[in-house]
Amino acid sequence: MAVTTDPPLAGAVDPAPTRRGLRRPRALGAWAAVAPLLVYCALFLGLPTWALLYEAVRRTDPATGVTSFTARNIAESWSGFYLTAMWGSLRLSLLTALICAVVGLMTAHTIAQSRGRMLRQAVLTASGVLANFGGIPLAFCFIAAAGTAGEATGLIRRIDPGFALDTFTGLVLVYPYFLIPLMVLTTMPALEGLRPQWREAAAGLGGSAWDYWRHVGGPILLPTLLGGFVLCFGSSFAAYATAQALAGGTVPLITLRIASVLSGNVLAGQENLGMAMSLDTIFICALMMAVYLPLRARSARWLDS
């Protein structure tokens, strides 16, 4: 059977431009709607980052007063005293993120499994509040509860005689207070997205509970878990006020070093070095987000399908 198609009519108007014409106002409307957010991001994220970058690669010679562009600040921020602080921050962040990922997951799993809606609501609300409860108030609460000579401190010192809040161990104890709720908030939607039918399907195909978690639940949750870990890491890495209030200069952390350099506590005129260290932290946080966002997108696609 021969199939023929009609040739286009002479002089017929191509409908595409008309459609494009209709689309344009809609696209303009969309841009107009998103414009305030873009302006906000440009002013409060883009501009400061640009200024930071600009200052991080500038250096003024104290003898001649001549300013030049150089990578020396960045190189210096990864050496000696500052490298120790960076390493301290990385160690603290990795350890607290690991603890919080495990405890947060267990907590979220327990809540997701429970049938009590009130309990779920209470935990989620509390997590929402506590995930944002950091800084000086948190430090004060811990000093009040586990200060230098409290009952709680006495109990902890039975396990670790050298325990004090203004040490690395002290910070490891304090940070989970706001990081565990963050992990609960991050993982709860994923845990609730695990369909009971997946467990039943696995069981029907001959799988045990272990098989289910190993081959189905675990792999589906893994991106969310890694994402939560990365968020906790980033949050811990960027924390400043809590550490400053509790440890001051006794624990080497990058955020404390940046503050110290910017305020001229050690040597004056090292602001550009502080900017370089800030740039380093931005780089690490950006790296974390680069890992987190694809993981989150992948997990969301699985759980929403």
């Binding site: 369909r195 039918q197 997946w198 039943e200 399907a201 696995a202 069981a203 029907g204 195909l205 001959g206 799988g207 045990s208 098989d211 081959h215 189905v216 792999p219 589906i220 696609r301 699985w302 759980l303 399908s305």
Partner: protein, 353 residues
């Protein structure tokens, strides 16, 4: 794949005060497809979940080839299940989903891959093995779910409303596919649905449930033509309930016509309700000013159904009767016109109101 006989014996299951199953009895012969049909909340899904091993009955037993499998967990029952909501593992490809059960059974990778390919071909989506569930349509996902359930060579296939999430055209297509695959493999199958048309068209026998009990289990034609109870008669197909009187031990008078009655029937002289299928009701057009007659009514609607048109007539006493006529006769009965009921075949059931 060896076909197995399945028996549900006196199953009881309560959720608090709600009795989901109340002594359910049902037996499936090897290789038979039985559809569990009933309204929402009648206990059909509970029964299926108990057979699958996802729930335990409060009393009663499930037997597979005569062996009591009630205490066994779902993992040890050798049953394949297809869920209403596909329930494919989203992080695995279609082929990996199909091979999942074989992976748990430590089947070698090449054998797994070959079996997955074979089953995907069987269910009509060969070549889609590398796709993830989110890259497949609803119908394709349900085909993968069917292949996954069959991959482990189960003794019984359980289908929990597998078509209800699909659109009408895909539903019809997949319904035929499921039946074809079931017949090809000769696998004993329990198919839960609330859609009577689906149940009647796919099953060897249809088990109608109500309030946790079995009302009737029979071949589709028998269920339609000889329902055991008024509930089955009303639930399966369209049914008219018209008033009549028993005029003899085996004769009922309805709309001025005497019709023979089978089965259990009330004594002569009893006022009864006569259950008639629309295709067993004929109509005669009557003049608008005809004398008062209880068998005459007013045409309300005419629904075109292809070869036939369903005419709804409201009698003087308010009873609505539906009659299926050849579509070429539909024009004889315009809306608001008058028509006389002509019962043309024996009623499916006569009950005391």
């Amino acid at each position: 794949m060896p076909a197995a006989g399945l028996e549900l014996s006196a199953l009881r299951r309560c959720y608090g005060a709600v009795r989901a199953l109340d002594g359910l009895e049902l037996a499936l012969a090897p290789g038979e497809l039985v559809a569990l049909l009933g309204p929402s909340g009648c206990g059909k899904t509970t029964a299926l979940r108990i057979v699958a091993g996802f729930e335990r009955p409060d009393a009663g037993a499930v037997r597979l080839d005569g062996a009591d499998i009630t205490p066994l967990s779902a993992a040890k029952r050798d049953m394949g299940m297809v869920f209403q909501s596909y329930s494919l593992f989203p992080h695995l490809t279609a082929a990996q989903n199909v091979a999942f059960g074989l992976r748990l059974r430590k089947t070698a990778a090449p054998a797994r891959a070959a079996r997955a390919e074979e089953l995907l071909e069987l269910v009509g989506i060969g070549g889609h093995g590398a796709r993830y569930p989110h890259q497949l349509s609803g119908g394709q996902q349900q085909r993968v779910a069917l292949a996954r359930a069959l991959a482990i060579r189960p003794k019984v296939l359980l289908l929990d409303e597998p078509l209800s999430a699909l659109d009408a055209q895909v539903r019809l297509q997949l319904r035929d596919e499921i039946r074809r695959v079931q017949l090809d493999l000769g696998i004993t199958t329990l198919f839960v649905t609330h859609d009577q048309e689906e149940a009647l068209s796919i099953a060897d026998r249809v088990a109608v449930m109500r309030s946790g009990r079995l009302e009737q289990c029979a071949a589709p034609a028998q269920l339609y033509q000889r329902p055991a109870t008024a509930f089955v008669a009303q639930f399966v197909g369209t049914m008219n309930r018209v008033r009549g009187t028993m005029v003899d031990t085996d004769l009922v008078e309805v709309a001025g016509h005497r019709l023979p009655v089978d089965g259990e029937r009330p004594v002569p002289g009893t006022k009864v309700e006569v259950l008639l299928r629309p295709e067993a009701v004929g109509l005669e057009a009557v003049p608008a000013r005809a004398a008062a007659d209880p068998a005459v009514g007013t045409v309300r609607t005419a629904t075109f159904l292809g070869a036939i048109t369903r005419i709804a007539v409201v009698l003087e006493d308010g009873t609505q009767v539906k009659a299926d006529l050849p579509s070429h006769r539909a024009s004889e009965f315009p809306a608001a016109g008058r028509a006389r009921l002509v019962p043309a075949a024996r009623p499916v059931l006569v009950i005391e109101p």
